[in-house]
């Protein structure tokens, strides 16, 4: 069992990004893999299977954030001049932050990005723009559905990691939990802003959910 020195959890406002800690050493490993900011998210491992699993998780998450980014971009493209635009912009900025973080992780750990990125680019933008054309409620309904799917996905990842070894994956768990909380926040924001007032919300809900779930499935299967 690899044991990491448990870093101190810092109290922080959920809106702030994960603050860097001083680099820490795993007492059983001879080397520290550290990023420019001085801390590690993926635990270094020599087990090929585990590495493949972690890489796959990061690849899917990266693709998910990339897609979410494009969805908000699509929404802004249509609703960018309306009252709702500051809200969408704020949510989009948070997603950009998430994407930046995953870009970092992928680069540091030499994880291959998914080949389907151009597809998610177009599909995400289309979904965002399409839902926004239905009005502000449509955009919010899309947000609710997508964020719900993303939260589900993150939750299942958290469950997987907790089942394996909570201590080893402390940082990773913390990161995913933080992102999942952000996504839940977006979900609640969408609900607040009359997402449920739309009658075709149900269809739209299912469609966005389905769309997102299909995306996750494809990614999971293609990268296995």
């Amino acid at each position: 069992m690899h044991r990491f020195v448990r870093p101190q959890l810092m109290l922080r406002d959920s809106k702030q990004p994960l603050l860097p800690r001083a680099g820490h050493l795993c007492t059983n490993h001879k080397s520290v893999v550290s990023s420019v900011r001085g801390y590690v998210v993926l635990p270094p491992t020599s087990d090929e299977e585990e590495k493949a699993m972690l890489h796959r998780m990061m690849r899917v998450d990266h693709a998910g954030e990339y897609g979410a980014n494009r969805i908000y971009a699509g929404q802004m493209a249509v609703l960018g001049r309306t009252q709702i635009s500051p809200l969408i912009q704020e949510m989009w900025d948070q997603e950009k932050q998430h994407l930046r973080k995953f870009n970092e992780i992928l680069a540091e750990n030499r994880v291959r990005p998914t080949l389907l990125l151009p597809l998610w680019n177009i599909a995400g933008f289309a979904l965002g723009a399409g839902s926004a054309l239905l009005g502000k409620e449509g955009a919010m309904a899309c947000t609710v559905a997508v964020e719900e799917s993303i939260s589900e996905h993150y939750n299942s990842q958290i469950r997987t990691l907790m089942e394996k070894d909570p201590e080893k994956y402390t940082e990773l768990l913390q990161l995913i939990k933080e992102f999942r909380d952000d996504e839940m926040e977006h979900h609640d924001t969408g609900l607040e802003h009359d997402a449920e007032s739309v009658n075709l919300n149900y269809c739209h809900d299912r469609m966005s959910c389905m769309n997102y779930n299909i995306k996750i499935q494809i990614l999971n299967n293609s990268n296995n």
Binding site: H62, R81, T82, F102, N103, L106, A107, R110, R112, P113, L115, L117, P118
Partner: protein, 330 residues
């Protein structure tokens, strides 16, 4: 996986002390109780009965007069040497050997690696074949029947060589990277870095260049393709990583595809190049890299032009909207 190899150590010890027969392990095999999936391995190991690579306990074990003991000149650690030479029970049960004797003992993979490395010396003579492996095994003092360990025969030899070359390349690139990070060397531009890395890697083929076409065709055999592709992609990824590529979008794929193309074509050119020190190959490499750089620049220009065009069109559209009064805030 490793704990299954420790019984080899006991085997070697017991058999060495018990007057090893050359080449045949039937007696020894019967005295061992096979352990499930290790039966095949145990059989293979008994073929290596005259594994003697211990300079230390040479004197204490009198070699039987009817077989030669070869001592190879390697410095790599081998199994069982350095152990106290008890002429103990010949059929030592190996249940008590579980994993305590760590680094002194060689795993099967290490042994295979050693054989293959030695076999490389015989490639110019025998080609990339099982004969080369047999010659290598014999140099190490093992029976030539130990080629039975290699299910893939010549494929194993070629893949081992490729792995070795790639590891060497990665090491050198990492070393250069360190130097740059420490400020002891200047970082190269991407094109130059690519060129040097590919040249370095291809130069490792020079000693075997005459037989390399044979090796290439072995790598193209259907059952070898997954392995060779994996090695190729790892090597290309390494080169790009040390060149500084940290892209996380589709560029990741286009860059690696480009480099794979460059590497493969240059390799083909090198194989039939007869100029002094492969000058033509390096010239070809230069041109290919220039091509890719040009393509990348062109792509960038096209994109910039495209963006300007789009902006121009948007401007025209907005002007139209203004004129017709459609452009109002909702």
């Amino acid at each position: 996986l490793c704990c299954g190899y420790w019984d080899m150590a006991a085997l070697i010890r017991g058999l060495r002390a018990g007057r090893v027969l050359r080449g045949l392990g039937s007696v020894a095999v019967q005295t061992l109780s096979p352990q499930g999936s290790n039966v095949r391995r145990a059989f293979h190991r008994t073929i290596l009965l005259q594994l003697v690579n211990d300079s230390k306990s040479d004197t204490s074990v009198p070699p039987p007069s009817y077989h030669e003991v070869h001592t190879a000149g390697e410095s790599s650690s081998s199994s069982a040497h350095g152990e106290s030479s008890e002429d103990a029970q010949p059929n030592t049960s190996f249940q008590d050997q579980s994993g305590e004797h760590g680094e002194d003992y060689e795993t099967e993979e290490q042994l295979q690696a050693r054989i293959l490395t030695t076999a490389l010396e015989f490639v110019p003579q025998h080609g990339w074949t099982v004969e080369a492996i047999a010659a290598g095994a014999e140099t190490l003092g093992l029976s030539s029947a130990s080629t039975g360990m290699f299910n893939n025969g010549a494929g194993d030899l070629v893949l081992h060589f490729v792995t070795q070359c790639n590891a060497q390349l990665a090491e050198t690139l990492a070393e250069q990277n360190n130097q740059v990070q420490l400020g002891q060397a200047e970082s190269k531009k991407t094109a130059e870095f690519m060129r040097d890395a590919v040249e370095m890697r291809l130069r490792m083929l020079i000693p075997y260049i005459d037989t390399w076409p044979q090796a290439m065709s072995i790598l193209l055999l259907p059952h070898n393709i997954p392995g060779s592709l994996k090695h190729l992609s790892t090597m290309v990824d390494d080169i790009w990583y040390y060149a500084g590529d940290r892209s996380t979008d589709v560029n990741w794929y286009t860059r690696r595809a480009a480099l794979t193309g460059i590497y493969n074509t240059t390799e083909l050119v090198m194989v039939q190049d007869s100029s002094p020190d492969f000058e033509e190959t390096w010239a070809f490499l230069d041109n290919r890299i220039k091509d890719v750089v040009n393509m990348a620049n062109t792509a960038k220009e096209v994109q910039a032009t495209g963006e300007s065009v789009v902006q121009g069109l948007m401007g025209a559209a907005i002007t139209l909207k203004n004129i017709t009064g459609m452009n109002q805030r909702r």
